[in-house]
Homo-oligomer: 355 residues x 5
């Protein structure tokens, strides 16, 4: 989840409410998809402009407009005009660096949330901003890119499965948030599993890659934290807000989302703790290993330095060294050295040197 | 307490209220046990289906239905229908990764809690989720596996001991929570004792196994934390909730449970502190030991390198080295070297090298 | 303050309100002491049973019953019956692992607090649980062992010194808490002084014992924390509770106790900070010392290895080594080696090697 | 952002409300710039004294007086007299070490805020204090130096772009705060990018400069923290204050500023986390590298010490060393040494020494 | 700021309200100074007893009694009698270890605060306790020693400068607190400058003294914390207390003091952060330096060990070593050794050994 360098600072000095796209540059045209449904029927269409979307809105039914691609300010501005979206909300939709939040403006609730997906192939986490504007019987969602985690919700609309078709736009909004939050569990599980693998790897052989693996996860947890902590506030704000736009029966479900965010935070913090202690384990392993190396060196030096000294002595060229002339001088010295070596090894053994 | 890899993420995208079993896969059929009692009499039965359980419910007495085995969604769904359990509660019962919580729905209080047991043989902590649904004169408890810590409570029902038989289903619920919480003390005591043993082991000989022992406990404390901290919220929620389902006299007992959870948290945090400082002690021991090794090496090298140099000098083959021809040259050099060695040892002694 | 291993978990499964003694096993019989007093007179007696104590209670005067020895459940149970002590309070009195707390039951305030004493001889902190039950004109205190810090308060009763004799049982309770809290200051002062001594010791010569001394204090601070933090809640609860049992004039004094607990916590946290930074100092001293050792080794090796090599060269037995035959060859080589040594020392000096 | 040593302590003992300039010493005269505007027209002037500014104020229009240079107490005192600025506010304007805050005095809101600018050339962050006094239709801003980030706002006044010209002095104040806050994003982005560069540098080759680079950023983050955290309180205070001076429609915009400050704090804390973990990575790299060095040394010593010992043995001058006389003695010893070397290398290889 | 060992525990067991002097032992008699003033005139006197002070009190004017020397309990007790100071306040005045606090008793506000002064000569921070009792038109201040930071306030009374003479005793109290707080800035500035000096010293040459300097400052910050944090509560309590003794116009000034304490805390925490990161820098410098030492050693050993081995080979006394008899054998070996050395240096160079 290498942070793409988006220039949030480009906005500096612009009047508030100015729609500027801050995020990856993209050139493909936005895509639109509109669902309208009641309990008994539904329609799904893919218009090609925001005005066409508007034509499909039927306030007696529930309408869900999904817009993929927020990189064209003109489209956002037009959407703002048509649906009377508050300028500050519009500005936030265009700014993909927006912190998750829930805000109520007159007649509309505005929600920003991060949708996280895990790319198995590249083993990276992709973050995408999803903005929602909830009005009476109308939900407009804005995404950065086509492709999302909403397909199960769409299927539930199509198949008339569960309560979704019987409930209003607020419940649809909840269902989308719920499916996003469920994906967070998946991300955390993946990270948790990678941590467990790294733990095994470190226990077996503490290599440099294991450490950088843990550091990588730790960094991803830092970014995740920035998405998940505000999520809790979003859930709490929605649950507690007494708004006409949110039915009482939906509140209970939002409380469930809130519980989930608490649990996510618990898990996130546990993973942080675990990754910290993995680093400690790694460092103490390295330290242990260094100790073994040092001991080896010291052992070798302590044994061979005296021996080398002794043979040096009898390599001296003094004229008058009586030992040299003795017949048993050579074997005696060899024996002496063997004795020294054995003595030292016993001493080391006794002082627990080999443990 | 190696976390079993349960796929919480399997739920992603399913409509809320869908009962999915998330947890260990099991194939044995669920077991049922039903107690009904008043102050004067009681009956205990083991029906074989949830419908049979229902037939035994007598709302004029206190009924406790205990279900072991939540891995069959069909059974949970049926229980939901019969007893009008809220869909969100049902979903949580099936999800063994649920965070401990207490929730009130209409006419029922729903509690999720973790039951921890310590397996002496494998020295591992086993965690099992217990869900309770409290209604008027009826308590339904759901467990993952047969075998629990409730036997003393069952005995109290059977023996008409204490207030239990005189009080309602709310007090029964309290008694079950109380016995679960009491077991947490046992777990923490076991971990505390293991920490004390490790402390002794580290003080004596800081081996790698001691460290990994502490790290293991630290990790278990991280998981325990996830069970104990929310427990406090559960206890607080129950104590403060003004519900018809909880009698005033029971509130006092719930406050006692709350106090216990606070104490558990205190103990848990102390154990975390202690395990952290054990790691510090271990690391400084390792560092000390390394120091000893380094000192030995340096001592040996500092003494023998100059000596080896000296004998090397007199091993040179220069034609004209007057010392070599002196009769007392050899003993003089030996004496010189002895003097150097003694001098160095004195110097080291004085500079506190051997401390 | 090695934690005595009391089996708190023995209680698991017993019905709440069951009086079980959790603590050190003792066999001596409990001791009783009863004071009754008004402003003008007082009596002090030592009955031999709890029933005799009851006979001495005079509700028109202030009565203080002090019971030493809570290890006999029968006595506690009997006291509960006579004085209508709440079952949960009775249970807590018997459990010496109880967290400090203040609880109000009908017509009585129940307080648990830890009395700490410092044993100069063994340099250990002893912790003893004191429970108080405050009723109208009656204070009952329960201790684990004879011997306490209350003697000054008893003297004040005997000598009619100060306000004590003019005020009610609530003020007596305050006076006892105050004297206990004052002893905490003493404990913290002792620990503070020991830390200062250790700081001096570490500055002078960082030995292993200094470190384990700091670690020991750190561990004691962890246990103290568990006594002192809840004390603040106790003081706050007493000060804020609007109970008939506590006179308005006493509230002011309880606020003073509260201030003292805040100050104790401040001091405790400061001591923790100091002990942490002492460990840092110790570790950096060790690291520094290791550096000195390494430098010595490197210095020796760097000087003698080249020299040994040079003498080795002229120890070779090649037939044709012209230098060997030169008359000034030997002094030249000696000179060369002297030059190398001096050059190296100058180089090391310049690169700040000796700092 | 080396903190210029301003002597805040110079103020000690002066009566409150005394205007003293605490900050960089400057000698240039203050500069003034006055905007007055309504929706339909505007005027921009640069008077040369504070009295001239006053003459330009038209309370039926919005007036913005901007004063560059607060180092002359006389000017501040005069401004205070003319515009009835509260003495405590005046004192704070002169003290460039003032903590960001928002305060309401009668008929005026006083805001202190830090304007941060990043100097690309010197790669340093410059901090400048901006004080604002908001009255009915009048905004007075005080800066330390000419040159600011307000040019875009001035352009918006000149070009009648956006809502700015239609709204009151409160909205102007908001616009200025907003543009300052937007610049904070830029600073944090710059620091974030520098951290990413340092991360790459450390991964590649952990040099001392990388470490000091991270330490430098860490220190800047400490200072930034002192500017950003209070900013949140400022934004919260403004948003929540029910003052006649702030229109309801502006509140919504202030809430947006508040959200931005929360996001800034999130980002700041993330950067702190990242810089901490960078230091960990650096240290473990150093430790790893040291390990490699130690291993090399040990490898060399372990191989050559025994060999040197062996050749030393056959360099001894004993008369009676039979091996020396054997024809194949020399090649045999060479072979032996080769065998030892190869054996050791195989042993090291097998024990994972080269990993 | 070595903590003088005052025996706070001496108080244990004394009845509350007992005036005991806890602090440095002193024998000089207390000094008294009394100011009385209205807007138009003032008088300054130095009586020699507390009763004489009382005679000078004129309740129609503002009276300030300043008492230097609180070590005589009799004086404090007498002051308590004369001015009806609450016993608990009296006790706190005598106890120089009292935590800063503000308390309201009937008709009086009691404030304890720490006055810090920096002694340039010994580079130490001196702490002195100042207690204030504020009554209607009367302020009594108690100090431990003559000599304080109040001289500027006295001058303002004498010179009729500022608002001081026009306002009541509450404003005088504020002025004294303000001047004490201003001195805290000075202390923190001094510590900040010392930290900057130490930072430069560590960057240049990380010596042991630098480290102990930082540790010293860190310890002083721990003590300062104990003075400054409660100060914030004092300021908040005074600002929020709705007391007849504090005029509305003074509240605004107290709020300013509160802001200052917040800023002090910010600065204090920043200094703590900085000193922590200085220690990190120091440790990593030491580690770096150790690395350099190790590298030098390894370089030397790696080059000379093989060379010494080679010359050892040709120092062997085998009869049959053909190389020895070759005319070019000696130069060839020398060349070989030169080649090995150069080869190694190139290898080290390439592997970045010298970086």
């Amino acid at each position: 989840m290498r942070k793409r360098r988006k220039k949030l600072s480009l906005k500096a000095g612009l009047p508030p409410g100015t729609v500027v796209h801050i995020g990856e540059e993209r050139t493909v045209p936005p895509e639109y998809r509109v669902f309208t449904y009641t309990e008994n029927n539904f329609s799904e269409q893919t218009p090609s402009s925001i005005d066409e979307c508007n034509a499909l809105v039927d306030r007696s039914r529930v309408t869900w407009i999904n817009l993929d691609g927020i990189h064209e300010p003109a489209v956002l501005t037009r959407a703002g005009e048509i649906f009377h979206i508050h300028p500050l909300a519009l500005e936030d939709i265009g700014n993909t660096e927006q912190r998750p939040k829930a805000e109520e403006y007159e007649g509309q609730i505005f929600i920003v949330i991060k949708m996280l997906t895990y790319d198995e192939a590249t083993r990276t986490i992709r973050s995408e901003q999803v903005s929602m504007v909830l009005m009476r019987n109308l939900l407009i969602t804005f995404q950065e890119r086509p492709g999302d985690v909403f397909e199960p919700v769409r299927d539930r609309i199509r198949n008339s499965k569960g309560k979704l078709r019987r409930m209003g736009a607020d419940y649809l909004g909840y269902a989308l948030i719920d499916v996003i939050v469920d994906n967070y569990y998946y991300i955390l599980e993946v990270l948790g599993e990678r941590l467990e693998d790294l733990e095994d790897a470190i226990a077996e052989n503490p290599g440099k890659e294991s450490l950088s693996g843990v550091q990588q996860i730790k960094k991803e947890l830092i970014y995740l934290r920035k998405s998940i902590w505000p999520l809790r506030e979003v859930a709490a704000a929605l649950e507690k807000r007494e708004s006409d736009l949110i039915a009482k029966s939906t509140i209970l479900y939002l409380r469930d989302v809130y519980d989930h965010t608490i649990e996510l935070i618990d898990t996130l913090e546990s993973l942080r703790d675990i990754s910290s202690s993995l680093i400690d384990i790694y460092l103490s392993s390295i330290s242990n290993r260094q100790n073994v190396v040092m001991k080896t060196l010291t052992l070798i030096a302590t044994i061979f330095m005296p021996l080398t000294f002794i043979v040096g002595v009898y390599g001296m060229n003094f004229k008058d060294m009586p030992e040299l002339k003795l017949a048993w001088g050579y074997p005696a010295v060899l024996g002496l050295m063997a004795a020294i070596t054995i003595g030292m090894l016993i001493y080391f053994k006794r002082s627990g040197w080999f443990r």
